[in-house]
Amino acid sequence: MATFDLNDEGVVVIVGSGAGGGTVANELAQKGIKSVVLEAGPRFDSSDMVNDEWGAFQKLSWLDKRYSAGGWHGAVNHQNLPAWIVKGYGGSTVHWAGVALRFKEYEFKTRSTYGEIADANIEDWPVSLEEMTPYYEKAEIKMGVTGKTTGMPHLPWNNGFRVLAEGCRRTGRTDYDSGPMAINSIERDGRPACQQIGFCMQGCAIGAKWSTMVTELPQAEDTEYCEIRTGAMALKVEHDDSGKVTGVLYADAEGNQQLQKARVVCVAGNSIESPRLLLNSASAMFPDGLANSSGQVGKNYMVHTTGGVYAAMPEPVHMFRGTSVAGIVGDDVYHDPSRGFSGGFYLEFLSLGLPFMAAFMEPGNTGWGKSVAQGLEQYDHMSGVWVLGEDLAQDQNGVTLHDSEVDQYGLAVPVVAKTPHINDVNMTNYMFETSAQIYEAVGATDVYELPAYPASHNMGTNRMHAEASKGVVNAFGQSHDIANLFVSDGSQFTSSGACNPTLTIVALAIRQAEYIAQEMNAQNI
């Protein structure tokens, strides 16, 4: 691995090593552009991954102090865990399940498609599916996504998904399959084929699942152009009198403050930490935080409209055997306001182990007693889905800084507010009913509805917009206010779409790295 001097003003400093930051780092490294990645958490590799839900949670999760706020149940039931994301080398790609779906065309054009929606703040993206398609293809090849782009077959169907698929068939659905997944179904790119171990979200123990931990980051480190510093928590992005960013102040693994100089800064700390860093970087010149002339930094926080539906079947299923998300149902991803909501949704088969099923079946103080215990006695007969649909941007949902409490780095603690829109409520009811109908068609004896989990899909808090007054960054993730400051993660999203965000984050990161290289070569940044 290369090492760079703190005073090297020629490097790109990338905050975060997940889907966005890790991809930008490797893409730049392959082009011969120097970068320093600041990763707040420790170094991980595949040997650190354990098949133990709580053990992995404690080892991998971002557990620094945070507050849940707003009207969602988590403000009461998950008071300090608004989001379930990773702190460490590879970021949340260590924990993602591998679902690699593309946005639909209309999902880039929500304002034009849906029109104005009361109490929502929806806008069109400044990019289209047509512009994104070549980058989706590059992302699919890079990540090894099953399907036509790579020619890699989708994964074999496991028990839990076979139950769901049969319910889909019996209810007249046609769009259900075991992919696209960024999990090798055959040996590819130096990584093995999936062995159906399960525990995908506890981190793949063999590297069959794509993560920046096993691909982008080690590949970048193998060049002479990328240094990855773990245990390095970004505190503040510094700027000069001209308003250009000049470096990133961070706390190193020993707790000492360091200032890494930079030619360009890419912020990729996920949708809570990225706006938090920009807000914490407020200065005399930028009193509302960096890149925030629009006032949109930290606003429009989106997480997907979600919940779980688990059905007890007449015979054992053993849903935990095999990949965690083993199949995807896409029949309901379209916009039809006559359903009572705007936007579409996916149903994704998702296995939970017994510990998590017991924790999330009825979270909060009421989740004990005979009804819960009897439900859990049916654990081995269950199949279930995670339902996820489009979450509309709202002004009131966002990340703000606590006015008095600070964390171990001395930074104001983030307060993460999420209140469901009526669109979310209507969609959730519809998704729950649809899922129950599918499972009842295969003979389900009981159906359990689980409320939203702490969010793993976090989006929108530094959104893209063509107009500088309505968004934080442009179509390349470049801040409207500061030319050499970029946002490289899912906080760029203008809308949430219905699908899992990672493929789009990676596609945007590949595109952004091309743009950064071009602008650096042209001496524009």
Binding site: W157, F199, G322, N365, G369, E377
Partner: protein, 131 residues
Amino acid sequence: MNGRLSIDVYQAIADGVSAGADADEANATALKAGLGEVVAQAQALFGSSYVDIPDDDAREGILRTFQNEGFFQGVRWAAYFGIYNNPDVWLKFGYQGSSVEHGDYIDRGFSDITFVPEGPTLEERMAQVKG
């Protein structure tokens, strides 16, 4: 569910709660006071000690009164971890726990159910992604 949990599982939970109280005076005080309230509520409603109320729904109803109190949630989470996060009892629930040390489920029943159709074969899956 494959049979009942043995009494040892519950004894271990009770022992853990007791040990927690022994180690922390504030915890012990809250637990004793809370249990005292449960006993008093049982007397008030049923004229009986809690453990002598025969109807389990009635016993659960008494506990529901106290479910937002710290002492109750302490016991509740001890029971949660002692049952649902306890590898010694997972097989009773049909949960097999850690898998990677056994290699995988690819040869251990990841697709062995018979009450719904099989998934597509490798050949079918290969054909699907061509062209």
